[in-house]
Symmetry: C2
């Protein structure tokens, strides 16, 4: 039987590349997306479409965050508009959602515990990222340790649960290159924090994506991105 | 300013005693309860009432667990009825909800990160408990380590986040005694896994509670429990 994996799929570039990579490893993947009151639902539709293209089962978890605390869930606050040089790893921006990756991975862990999936795949990246603490290798490792103590799978069933973050140490350009190589439909992914008809081009996520595509591409290979 | 604490409040005995204890320490407490499709909503009403009596702010987080995996959320499966001697620490029963305490603590961590609360209080107990892996000291400690890596509070703001599990090594009888001493309205708590008009008396939770009350009490002090 194939090893099983739960893949966090946001609808963005990084999680899509992670899903294609997990499939390439021969794992039986299930995709998990979250509806938690984010600014727009557009990424949910993209996630669902990507799961369909990848031919993997797909679930949406709904949860509320009554305390807000992030410009990504609170429409009254404005998204920051920073130039690339201002996106630092020492200041956490207003788009940070308190403990978001911990919540996402905890739900993935719950599903993994129920279906005996040993791998949890997350597209976190610690190079071209917005400075979130829960995108760092040290965080991923500590979640993994906790996961093995927390669950039936890690204790009674003695499986060694692994948090797989294959993009952790790649640049955005590397991720784009990898996506192209794996045949990820990058033009079907959505990275923009805003939910307009077309990407805003000015949020951190758009800027990092543009940088990656710019640095990675021959004009011909990226015509559709 | 008083130190702040987020207290997980299920409406049961253990979490109520934990809340009263945290208040006694002089912490500014906020109570957090979950509506996650459990068999009955009765415990939510008890939690709300207890928060009102304790005069602490109270929030309910709603989330879905589309994969089920527990007789505590799946009404089609029957709750186990075991004698006390069969409640062991080596077999995980069907009432185990995959990664539940990790989910609960992750939401508490998110709120704590937003409001800069250093303490997360959980009524987990590793003596008279149902054998859940996420009630053990080794789990609590590993969650704490992860929490400090995961958040703005633990990194940028350099606060040492503490997971406080004050009942971890107490017997159920000790918890009842402590509750009586602290003036916890034990008769307003609800422990039963089923949601009948009165407690079923046969689920693990009822049996452990009865045992605690039996062992702890003078008939006069427990007349109302």
């Amino acid at each position: 039987m194939k090893p099983q994996a739960i893949v966090l799929l946001s609808g963005g570039l990084d999680s899509a590349v992670s899903l294609w990579l997990a499939k390439k490893k021969g794992w039986a993947c299930s995709a998990l997306t979250f509806d938690y009151g984010q600014r727009h639902k557009k990424e949910l539709r993209h996630a669902q479409r990507l799961a369909r293209i990848a031919k993997v089962p797909f679930k949406v978890v709904r949860f509320s965050l009554p305390w807000g605390g992030s410009s990504l869930v609170d429409k009254k606050t404005r998204l920051p508009r920073r130039s690339l040089s201002k996106i630092s790893h020492t200041t956490i921006p207003s788009t940070y959602v308190p403990a978001r990756n911990t919540l996402f991975l905890s739900f993935a862990l719950s599903w993994a515990d129920q279906k005996k999936a040993q791998y949890l795949v997350i597209g976190a990246n610690a190079i071209d990222y917005s400075g979130y603490p829960d995108c760092r290798p040290v965080y991923i490792k500590s979640f993994e340790r906790m996961a093995n103590k927390a669950t039936r799978l890690g204790t009674e069933q003695k499986k060694n649960i692994k948090i797989v973050a294959p993009l952790l140490k790649l640049s955005k350009a590397d991720i784009v290159r990898l996506g192209l190589k794996l045949g990820v439909p990058i033009n079907k992914t959505w990275s923009c924090y805003a939910g307009g008809k077309t990407p805003c081009g000015t949020c951190d996520s758009c800027r990092l994506r543009q940088k990656g595509i710019r640095e990675a591409c021959l004009p011909t290979s990226c015509a559709q991105l």
